[in-house]
């Protein structure tokens, strides 16, 4: 087990190293940070001075070497925009993203399992067909469109008035179709401070209202995938011999669905889905942009626009690290759930 974890740690370091080299190599194409820092009328001579100060004129290897030496001491450089250590900037933005991903994951799990299982048990029921249809739409609609639509429906409110509004029944029907709005349209509101850089939206009902729409948007990316995955796996599992045998033993269908079948269904779902959830941490960019959610995604976009190379490099490395951590966690969980596999990943 220890050997396994150490091997993974080594992977993580390797990944981070490769990413940092690539990020440094392409930095010339990331844009000129000086341009973003100074006003339009500042003469070239001034810009040159700044460039020298920031060490932007040194050759690639020199810059990288400087970076690597510092990185080994956990100093990843100073962000051009914030003029703080990049690690601090990233850490400040990390809790917001983690909370968003956490909320989305909860939504995904609590919705996809019942819907997926139901669609597998009763594939021809109209509700199952409805869910499958909606999930196709969900996969096709880009997340920012979902986000904007949600904002329109629930933050601003939309009124449909196809029925005559002056009649009692007409007005009532119109009321059913329209939405009130009232949800917060953007941001985290006033998150409550927990400790360190961690402020949370989970401490109050009001805090949670800020989380709802962004979490739904983010979940909408993955939810259709999970539903279809669980459904497909479950359908296959239901055809297996051990399910037939369980029936022949006279076991109740409920136990068969939710223990015999589900446990086997979840194995590939954990593998595939676990990694997808991990990638969510990196891909909150679009959702955070639309909702102005102050997490890592928004920070990264900002860094790209302003060519804040140290921050970009640090972000990419942290994301690489997150991927490795997520993969490791998924492997560990999988090893725990699947008795035929030892934790080291080799078959028992």
């Amino acid at each position: 087990m220890i050997a396994f974890l150490i091997k993974r740690l080594f992977h993580a370091l390797l990944v981070m190293f490769v990413i940092s080299v690539i990020a440094f190599a392409i930095q010339d194409n990331l844009g000129d940070p000086i341009q973003q820092m100074v006003g339009q009328s500042v003469p070239e001579s001034e810009r040159e001075v700044l460039r020298e100060e920031l060490g932007l004129n040194d050759p690639f290897l020199v810059q990288y070497f400087r970076f690597a030496v510092n990185a080994a001491q956990f100093d990843f450089g100073y962000s051009y925009i914030y003029n703080e250590p990049t690690t601090e900037v990233v850490l400040r933005h990390l809790p917001a993203t983690l909370e968003l991903v956490f909320a989305s994951t909860l939504l995904i799990i609590f919705l996809s399992v019942p819907i997926g299982v139901y669609s597998a048990i009763k594939p021809r029921a109209w509700l199952s067909r409805f869910f499958m249809g909606v999930s196709i739409i969900g996969i096709s609609i880009p997340v920012f469109l979902t986000a904007i639509v949600l904002i329109q429906l629930f933050a601003i409110g939309v009124s449909f008035t196809p029925f005559p509004a002056d009649t009692g029944w007409g007005a009532w029907l119109n009321g059913l179709l329209s939405t009130e709005g009232g949800m917060p349209a953007y941001g985290r509101g006033d998150p409550v401070h927990v400790f360190g850089t961690w402020t949370t939206n989970f401490a109050s009902l009001e805090g949670l209202t800020y989380l709802v729409l962004p979490a739904i948007s983010l979940a909408s990316i993955m939810l259709p995938l999970f539903i279809r995955l669980i459904r497909a796996e479950m359908l296959e599992v239901m055809q297996s011999e051990y399910v037939k045998f369980a029936r022949a033993k006279g076991i109740s269908m409920r136990r068969i669905y939710f223990l015999h079948a589900l446990k086997n269904t979840m194995l590939p779902v954990i593998t595939v889905g676990g990694v997808q959830i991990g990638t969510l941490v990196a891909y909150t960019i679009l959702t955070e942009t639309v909702f102005q959610w102050p997490g890592m995604g928004l920070m990264f976009l900002d860094a790209i626009e302003r060519s804040d190379i140290p921050l970009i490099v640090t972000y990419l490395m942290i994301v690489g690290l997150i991927f490795v951590i997520t993969n490791t966690l998924v492997d560990l969980i999988y090893g725990l759930v699947n008795p035929t596999v030892k934790l080291t990943g080799k078959p028992a």
């Binding site: 914030y82 409110g157 009232g182």
Partner: protein
């Protein structure tokens, strides 16, 4: 749908009850959203719209522009041109800084000296030699040479609290140091004379202001007690925030949403013709044909600026035939956009390019309103005179590097004069390029006309504003006749607010809303 309404209703109710305590305080809080928050609290750190907007909130200038381009006295009450290079200015008495320190002439001198140190502002203040303190409430500004733009510059002099910014920090750094993207003292601590003090700042997230109780301008009608500024980068979200009632004031407003905001009875839209000129340069060094003024004129005749402003920008732009917008002294009313396809073809034929030629074109795609689309429209129009355009659009982070390298035959740029003065355009955009003096820094056309350059130099020494205006108009005429570049339009400005927030009187074409004077009406 049914469940949605119920859910929305339940949560909406929860939100309202959470919001109630705030309004019960009967304080006028303005919740506003710009596309970005100020990058620093040090107003000398960067010359940008965001910083200047902050300056008008937390500081006061010596004078400020009115809507009609007149100078309104703020911390300067009177001024007098004593001689060619000396201007005597009387300062307002009884003004205090947020820190409690009194405002004196020392602060003005200190501020100007710091401006001359600032990498961004030093070019503007280069003509100023020094500031002499005559007495506690009088200064004399000495210029190196006759300076007709002194008052223009004075709109950028926001006296800072010299005592507050003097000395050393705990870390041994000078409190008044100017550091780009700084961790400097001034970038995190602020003390001015302005209507609002900063009470809380989280970079990239929010800035909170509270009205300064000892603010000197008791005649200001403004009744805003507190301001919360949150940046919302995404256009659609910013508009949604306004429409949902989460914020009361937004800027900028994307052109696509103008109608929507106007038709909504709970929101208010104000638009104005702007002063940022969008134009294309034609690089004479790269393309020989561009050296022939007939070709340049032909290009100008081929472009339908009014069409672009009308249909592409949906009326959200003012077609231009020159640099200076209306209201600037150099604005020449005789110059109109010229669109004449036949004339264009004639000129091309005359110059021997009846069959046209191909050019490369570059434009940014996230800097100006509809920038990429405008470039495409221009390319399409040029096709009609047999010019094939190879267009490449780039995000602004990459574009400016290419621009500096003059990487394409035609390049787009938008420019706004920092001094609100016509000569500034020529100086940066069409002056003969000179690396030493910095002239023509953005002259991607490599256009050079020494006569016009001299005209500008003379105008900048002409203290008689009437005469100066004439010279500048002549300059515009010269550029027009020579078809030095292709002007397109001036971008309009738009602001939107909740219906009870009266923004119209406080906004202006410089886009410096004077929020100190903003009135929020009862709902």
């Amino acid at each position: 749908m049914f469940k949605k309404t119920l859910l929305a209703g339940a949560l909406g109710a929860a939100m309202l009850t959470a919001a109630l305590p705030q309004t019960a305080l009967a304080e006028n809080t303005l919740r506003m959203a710009y596309d970005a928050d100020p990058v620093s609290l040090d107003i000398h750190e960067q010359l940008s719209g965001g910083i200047l907007q902050l300056s008008h909130m937390a500081f006061d200038p010596l004078v400020r522009w009115t809507k009609d381009f007149e100078f309104e006295p703020r911390l300067a009450t009177e001024w007098e041109q004593v001689d060619d290079t000396t201007m005597r200015i009387s300062l307002r008495e009884g003004v205090t800084f947020h820190s409690g320190n009194p405002f004196t002439a020392e602060d003005v001198a200190w501020t100007v000296e710091r401006l001359k140190r600032s990498p961004d502002f030093k070019a503007i203040f280069e003509p100023i030699e020094t500031v002499n303190v005559v007495d506690e409430h009088t200064v004399e500004i000495i210029s190196k040479r006759p300076n007709p733009l002194l008052l223009n510059m004075a709109t950028y002099i926001f006296p800072m609290d010299s005592q507050f910014y003097s000395g050393e920090t705990d870390g041994g750094k000078a409190k008044d140091e100017i550091v780009k993207n700084g961790n400097s003292y001034a970038s995190r601590n602020i003390s001015g004379t302005g209507p609002f003090q900063v009470t809380n700042r989280q970079q990239g997230v929010r800035v909170d202001f509270e009205r300064f109780d000892d603010y000197w301008d008791s005649e200001s009608p403004g009744n805003v007690d507190a301001i919360t500024l949150t940046p919302i980068g995404e256009n659609a979200t910013r508009v949604a925030a306004l429409l949902s009632g989460d914020v009361d004031f937004i800027a900028p407003v994307p052109p696509n949403d103008l109608e929507r905001i106007e038709s909504d009875e709970d929101t208010n839209l104000v638009t104005m013709s702007g002063t940022r000129i969008i134009l294309f340069h034609m690089n004479q060094e790269r393309v020989e044909a561009f050296q022939d003024p007939r070709v340049r004129q032909a290009f100008n005749y081929a472009i339908n600026q009014e069409g672009i402003a009308d249909r592409l920008m949906k009326g959200f732009a003012t077609p231009a035939a020159q640099f200076s917008p209306e209201g600037y002294s150099g604005h020449n009313p005789d110059l109109e956009p010229r669109f004449d396809l036949d004339r264009a073809k004639e000129l091309m034929a005359e110059a021997g390019y009846e069959d046209g030629f191909s050019v490369s074109m570059m434009a940014p795609n996230n800097r100006y309103v509809n920038d990429a689309k405008i470039a495409q429209a221009v390319a399409a129009m040029l096709a009609r005179i047999n010019v094939t355009v190879d267009l490449k659009t780039l995000p602004k982070a990459q574009y400016w590097g290419e621009y500096d390298d003059r990487a394409a035959d035609m390049m787009m740029i938008g420019w706004h004069s920092d001094t609100e003065d016509s000569a500034n355009f020529h100086q940066y955009l069409t002056e003969c390029p000179d690396a030493d003096s910095g002239g023509g820094q953005y002259n991607a056309g490599n256009y050079c006309n020494e006569e016009l350059d001299q005209l500008m130099v003379d105008a900048n020494l002409e203290v008689d504003l009437e005469k100066r205006g004439e010279m500048l108009r002549e300059l515009e005429q010269g550029l027009y006749d020579d078809a030095a570049f292709i002007p397109l339009h001036w971008q309009n400005l738009a602001w939107a607010s909740a219906a009870n927030v009266d923004i119209e009187p406080v906004v202006n074409v410089m886009n410096f809303p004077y929020l100190g004077d903003l009135v929020i009406n009862e709902e």
